[in-house]
Symmetry: C2
Subunit: 228 residues, 2 copies
């Protein structure tokens, strides 16, 4: 009896009584659903069940599925943009920002798809963050726009494609095992049509998406700093 000191709280544990529905709770549940069951799993009925209501209730807080997906995307991206760059060298700040987005999209692959659909406002925030570092790199003003938009496009574009690749592999498969399989497939391609691809199959096997991603950033940064 003394064993499990179950000092009952004075007030009953609050029964997990249904908090009221809210845009915030809905978007949160949507993100969870997207993460666990994928884009096809996000259904107003499934979402309603998870929130223990009817599907119609959701429409009181959200105009429809499009807005719901946009809000979910926004939530994830906002989380990834949390860091603070003050005091960091511009190149390093850009790498950190890029990796934050890369990891967020890798963890929530459906965000990659959404980026192509909506997501106006998060993109603007990315643009601003990148742009400030471009300024800090002392790039001539005439090149600011090009430099910032190239970087942003690369970051979001590549992160999105990486997520797509990840989705293709995923089914519990081990990473190196997967890469090995693809590399093996490359080796069996037609030697004439795919001479180059075959020649880098080995590099694929020991390749690291994340490192490759940063390497691409550095290529662009190299091009940008050459502008001054």
């Amino acid at each position: 009896m003394a064993r499990m000191e179950r000092m009952a709280p004075k007030t009953r544990r609050p029964e997990r009584r249904q908090e009221p529905l809210s845009r915030e709770r809905i978007v949160g549940a949507a993100v969870e659903l997207l993460d666990s069951v994928g884009e096809g799993g996000l259904t107003f009925r499934a979402l309603a069940e998870r929130l223990s209501t009817g599907p119609g209730a959701i429409y009181w807080h959200v105009t429809g599925k499009t807005e719901l997906l946009a809000a979910a995307t926004d939530a994830v991206l906002t989380g990834a943009l949390g860091g603070d760059d003050t005091g960091t060298a511009p190149q390093e700040a850009i790498r950190a920002l890029a990796l934050g987005l890369f990891d967020a999209i890798d963890a929530h692959p459906w965000v990659g798809t959404q980026l192509a659909h909506t997501a106006q406002s998060p993109m603007l925030r990315v643009f601003e963050r990148v742009g400030r570092q471009v300024q800090a790199l002392r790039v001539p003003e005439a090149h600011w726009f090009t430099a910032a938009s190239s970087l942003m496009s690369y970051i979001l574009g590549v992160a999105g494609q990486n997520a797509a690749n990840a989705r293709r592999a995923r089914p519990g498969m081990d990473r190196t095992e997967f890469l090995g399989g693809v590399a093996a497939a490359w080796t069996e391609l037609d030697p004439e049509q795919y001479a180059f691809t075959r020649s880098v199959a080995g590099q694929l096997r020991e390749h690291d998406d994340r490192a490759e991603f940063v390497a691409g950033i550095d290529l662009i940064l190299g091009g940008i700093t050459a502008l001054r």
Copy 2:
């Protein structure tokens, strides 16, 4: 009566008798439907009507919607990969290839979305084409994979995002009018949160997606050639 020389052809116009269904015709009709009514308009029922059959007939030639979309994407991308690079300087060949893809995706914006979903084989073809030019640039072999995959990711990623932007603007709106509107909106952003974005609103106004796209390629090419 002589006015409209309606010289009736000897043989009756061939009645446009129903050619038999085929994977090719189905994919062609799907591309047309996607172009004209967008991704939401591609329906087995709509497609069947356009081909004057029932929806079930399509399943004899195609396993489902996923394969249909992949095939449509493949068809467009294959068309864009038509050119021949032999005899062109590598940098120029890469720009041409990139622009071909950019224009194709711009003309068929739904391809941008699909790139994030499937499209394994067309990506491999892009990779090979880009890779050969990377070799021609005399990049050290250890960097082949990184250089080629950075370029490909940038090309497909940016082209896809451009298509998404285009879709946002499209409704018949004039291009410069549209850019002017966005630039004006940028000018009204919070000066503290969006200092950089506001400062390049003018550059946005006179900016050219296509030129910007190539400028980004050149940045990467700059970084790549710095590797040797």
